[in-house]
Symmetry: C2
Subunit: 346 residues, 2 copies
Amino acid sequence: MDELPPPLAARRATIITLSREAGVAPSTVSRALKGDTRISPETRARISRLAKELGYTPHASARTLSSGRSGLIGVVVGSSANPFYTELLHEAVRQAAPLGMRLLIIHAGPGPIENSTADALLQYQVDGCLMTSVELPSHVAAICASNGVPVVMVNRVARMNSSAVTCDNLFGAAQLAQLLLDQGHRRFAVVRTSASSSTGQERERGFLERVTEAGCEPPLLLDGRSTYEGGYERALQIAALPAARRPTAVFAVSDIMAFGVLDAFRMRGVRVPQDISVVGFDGLPAAARPCYELTTVEQPLGAMVGRALGMLQARIGHPSLPDETVSLRGALIVRKSSGSPPSRSR
Amino acid sequence: MDELPPPLAARRATIITLSREAGVAPSTVSRALKGDTRISPETRARISRLAKELGYTPHASARTLSSGRSGLIGVVVGSSANPFYTELLHEAVRQAAPLGMRLLIIHAGPGPIENSTADALLQYQVDGCLMTSVELPSHVAAICASNGVPVVMVNRVARMNSSAVTCDNLFGAAQLAQLLLDQGHRRFAVVRTSASSSTGQERERGFLERVTEAGCEPPLLLDGRSTYEGGYERALQIAALPAARRPTAVFAVSDIMAFGVLDAFRMRGVRVPQDISVVGFDGLPAAARPCYELTTVEQPLGAMVGRALGMLQARIGHPSLPDETVSLRGALIVRKSSGSPPSRSR
DNA sequence: GGCGAATGCGCAAACGTTCGCGCAATGGAA
DNA sequence: TTCCATTGCGCGAACGTTTGCGCATTCGCC
């Protein structure tokens, strides 16, 4: 006859189990497992060994309840139509695990966040928030701010009460502009995005500044709606222009739109780069495909995510840290779509 | 001089706060908020009103600790190189929220799951698991099984101790085969996947059965590695074949490979569908692009995810429910890549 | 030989919910 | 009037962890 208290034969090992087994107090187990130096090295070793033997796994909810920390990072990810967000998410998952952070998906997709959804931020006591969505409703930001949840925007410029890490959009776009200028281009089109995309705005500005600085006429501005389809449609318009007024180079502020542009030109028999040059921005893997060979600026995704998680971690430890914005320089990747290098074209 | 107990001026409202405010016991508040009929309708109404006023939000960790249910679904999602997984994930996020489920990302990407990662399943007490990865290591399945965590595979056939929901791959592939047969095709190539993809295997088999049944010679089988690049390379091989031996139709078992196939043919001047027909499987949005116009079978993503979540929900409530496999029929979408409809080609 | 500081650990109170019981009050039936 | 059911709610013990505080011991030092 065994004692009945353990209702199910095999229950999961807890700190209590360990403490009984080791003949110490639960608090000692807790401290030993997190390497508290107040516990003697021998005891610590003994307890870790025991934990391994019994297959002990800490109970996240209990920890959260007691400590106020969940180890959860809420993520809001943008439209699935742009592969960049997918890459970003995957990179975040990859990097978060080793840091002891888990990702709780709060919202995904192009639409705004519903109120009921934002509740999860509170319910699950997320320690921080990673946002890549275009539309961050201010009430979500308010919820985070009033609960001391640090927010880091990735690939978005900071708003009130949040930090941000972006690619150096101005510099990258200027590099692209310079590349095209060096090849003798003087008439440009920019396939832009709506004003709600801060990233798109910056890239557009960086490009415009450089080409107007160089004395070119202001580029033709067309809204590509941040989608492949938008880029496609805009390129059809460009292709339909009389040759004399048609720009000789197109800057699509994101690769996904550039793909649409390239495909549309091909459908219309406009040759890239012979008839027109095309450049993008993001550095999606697909930009390297033989059918695109797109010149672009590759965002340093790994570094950006690493920085973002680091900033989050720092602010979780020290909530008083001021908001911060860092921008990382991307790499210009020259491919066929922008035409021959200047040495050969001149 | 206020009493000090509330350390911070404004603390979050808890059930205790509400109980004091309403003059009832905490247990009553708990029951009232979940609509327990043992509490009088008036009391229930009063408490819900109060909860709204004070901005009460339940504390998920406390609930988990006490009830053993977390409301969390662990998700394992496959490679970011295939947009299908992205679509699937987004659909899951969309549908889970209204059901009161949140998605905790356990693992993302093509690689296998590390042990340390799988721990999250236990630590966070996930109620169920949604898996779309190609490789489900058996130890993860074991963890779930031994802890009573129901597992549903999506777009994968069931393994031990898990349910599954898939598209009817056999039927869909047979439909594609029939379509091509009706147009007079007799020599086929299949761009397949490795044996680890159960879905790919089924599609291949469904196609093969139909065409051999129709008396055709066995198709040329080429491994496309489930990637765009793989499809591209295989199509280059096909294009290099002497015309007499070259198949007249290619079935890529996933759209992403079909895109590679189409682009490779275009690069080689092989015209689709005049010189060769191409069909895919998945129904990715990109299949509709003017540069692809890919005939494919569209997986009923919304229904599949809905079914998966429903099965999970049912098993969370009744752990003894037997494992189950459901397959949903997709829609054949005929586009340009498969050639003219039979009525005009004959 | 006495004093203060380490060193190493235990006590017990949180954290916010859930849920099995149990208890009082009310009502109807006998 | 007594008895039993029903209705409506409260009591209190979990759930597993963290953490501030405090208490012994041991050691070095004057």
